[in-house]
């Protein structure tokens, strides 16, 4: 019994320790985000990698999500002849929920992993140590550009995803299900409020921060060669995905709570 409690205690302490280390890392990283020097060449590279190169995967996810949303809601809504609500359902689900969450999860897989792998490799090959001996703060050089790129590019990606998703829905509705194009478009925008899109963009910025921070944290603290880098990659993607889902719930409760 005592042994059992001891084990629980040990895990609990380890958990607190890890959480504390993560928050400390986040705090240090953020504090560097606003203090020069800024390495804008690194920023450029990260904006390109996180934003532009994620477009295909995010776009693909969005278009199929929009398409399937129409199919599914058509099956349901046609049972009580509420087909006219489909356009609204699609645009609201896309902008408020599916755009940010799906884009976030896809980018977490793509970017979280690559950040953890790159920074992790730099850690185990002592390149991060070398940076500080060459008068360069590794936080400012490696992490700040990634955090900014995540926070700025994710909302832009989600905006694109919203548009592509709605367009995907429109295609299926008009070409497959025979909706009138003008009426469908009109219904899409009638009930859409700025707040629906904005809330999605706020979520996206938070997710961008979570993804890049998790990747950086895992990479920065990786140890022990290739195996350590592999473990860092996995942990970056897993923790980013879980944090995205948790924060998505919390943000929804805060943003739309009364």
């Amino acid at each position: 019994m005592l042994n059992f409690l001891r084990t629980i205690g040990r895990y609990f302490l380890a958990f607190l320790n890890a959480t504390g280390a993560f928050f400390l890392f986040a705090f240090i990283s953020v504090s560097h985000c606003f203090r020069p020097p800024f390495y804008f060449r690194q920023w450029g590279r990260q904006f390109f990698e996180i934003g532009y190169l994620s477009l295909p995967v995010v776009g693909l996810t969005a278009i199929f999500t929009g398409m399937v949303l129409v199919l599914q809601s058509y099956t349901g809504f046609s049972r009580f002849s509420a087909e006219s609500s489909i356009a609204t359902v699609v645009v609201l689900s896309m902008t408020r929920e599916l755009g940010p969450v799906l884009a976030g999860l896809m980018v977490a897989g793509r970017i979280g992993a690559s950040i953890a792998a790159e920074i992790g490799t730099m850690r185990v090959t002592e390149q991060i140590d070398a940076l500080s001996t060459l008068s360069t703060n590794p936080f400012k050089y490696l992490i700040v550009p990634r955090l900014w790129a995540g926070v700025i590019m994710l909302p832009l990606l989600v905006l694109t995803a919203d548009a592509i998703g709605v367009f995907g829905g429109y295609l299926v509705a008009t070409y497959k299900l025979g909706f009138n194009a003008a009426i469908y478009i009109n219904q899409t925008f009638t009930y859409l409020k700025a707040e629906d899109v904005n809330s999605g963009l706020i979520k996206a910025a938070v997710f961008g921060f979570i993804i890049t921070l998790s990747g950086s944290y895992a990479g920065f603290n990786s140890k022990g060669g290739a195996q350590g880098v592999g473990a860092a990659t996995t942990s970056a993607v897993v923790s980013a995905s879980i944090l995205i889902l948790i924060c998505n719930y919390l943000l929804t409760a805060i943003l739309f709570g009364t």
Partner: protein, 262 residues
């Protein structure tokens, strides 16, 4: 000693430096003084903590206890920016090279110049080419990526990067491991030149005793976390220290245990 005109200027002083990782103790009390224009070679068995010693001085590892003085200032009592300034005058060659694999060779060498002094790209490139020449690499490698070089070439690029800013203190972690005999002599002479011409203070870690004799003003042997012997290269042959004797002759018999099963 009496003819010496100027008294030596102290660059680095270590007092009772200890470092352990968890329960594993690596350094158990290192005391050391390094003066300007002096070249110290540290020898010692694999895993004896030579690299850890350098990393402690560089602030990359936090010592468990003990003091580190650079230019007479205790670096743990300095503010962050003062500490950075103290440490930034150290040029370091890492044991594994630690070249930035996303940057070209010349950008690696010029990195410190651009970061520390804001040297414009063109000028920094010229200095980088000059330093690459000094380590026996031609201009043609400047635009390659580090992964396109051989191990020995990477090591030399790392060396060029370490000396690029003409730092006042130089740390070389096994600079000649993996080099051919001729290159080894070239690099040894380069290190001597850095110390003599630029008046730098240098600590070199090496397993190669020929190099050690060539480079060193002083040789220190690290064993079980302490410096157990310190002297010049003439003294090393005459020394009666059984640990040192066993080590330099590479003998299996002696006080240093060799943990292999027969």
């Amino acid at each position: 000693m009496s003819q010496k005109i100027s008294s030596p200027i102290e660059k680095i002083r270590l007092e009772g430096l200890e470092k352990s990782f968890g329960t594993k103790t690596v350094l158990t009390g290192v005391d050391l003084v390094l003066n300007k224009g002096e070249s110290l070679v540290v020898i010692g068995g694999s895993g004896s903590g030579k690299s850890v010693l350098l990393k402690c001085i560089l602030g990359l590892l936090k010592p468990t206890s003990g003091k580190i003085f650079i230019d007479g200032k205790d670096i743990f009592s300095l503010s962050n920016s003062e500490k950075e300034a103290s440490i930034s005058q150290i040029g370091m060659l890492f044991q594994g090279g630690a070249l930035f694999d996303s940057l070209k060779v010349w950008e690696n060498v010029a990195f410190g110049l651009r970061q520390r002094f804001g040297t414009p790209a063109k000028e920094a490139r010229n200095i980088a080419l000059e330093k690459l020449n000094a380590v026996g690499l031609s201009e043609s490698v400047a635009d390659l990526m580090p992964s396109e070089l051989s191990g020995g070439m990477q090591k030399r690029v790392g060396l060029a990067r370490a000396i690029a800013t003409n730092p006042a203190i130089l740390f070389f972690d096994e600079p000649t491991t993996g080099l051919d005999p001729i290159m080894r002599t070239v690099i040894d002479s380069l290190i001597v030149k850095c110390v003599k011409d630029l008046g730098a203070a240098a600590i070199t870690i090496t397993h190669d005793l020929t190099s050690a004799y060539h480079i060193a003003d002083k040789i220190a042997m690290l064993y079980e976390g302490k410096i157990i012997w310190l002297g010049d290269s003439k003294g090393i042959e005459k020394s009666k220290n059984p640990y040192l004797n066993q080590f330099i002759h590479g003998s299996m018999e002696g006080p240093i245990p060799v943990n292999i099963k027969p």
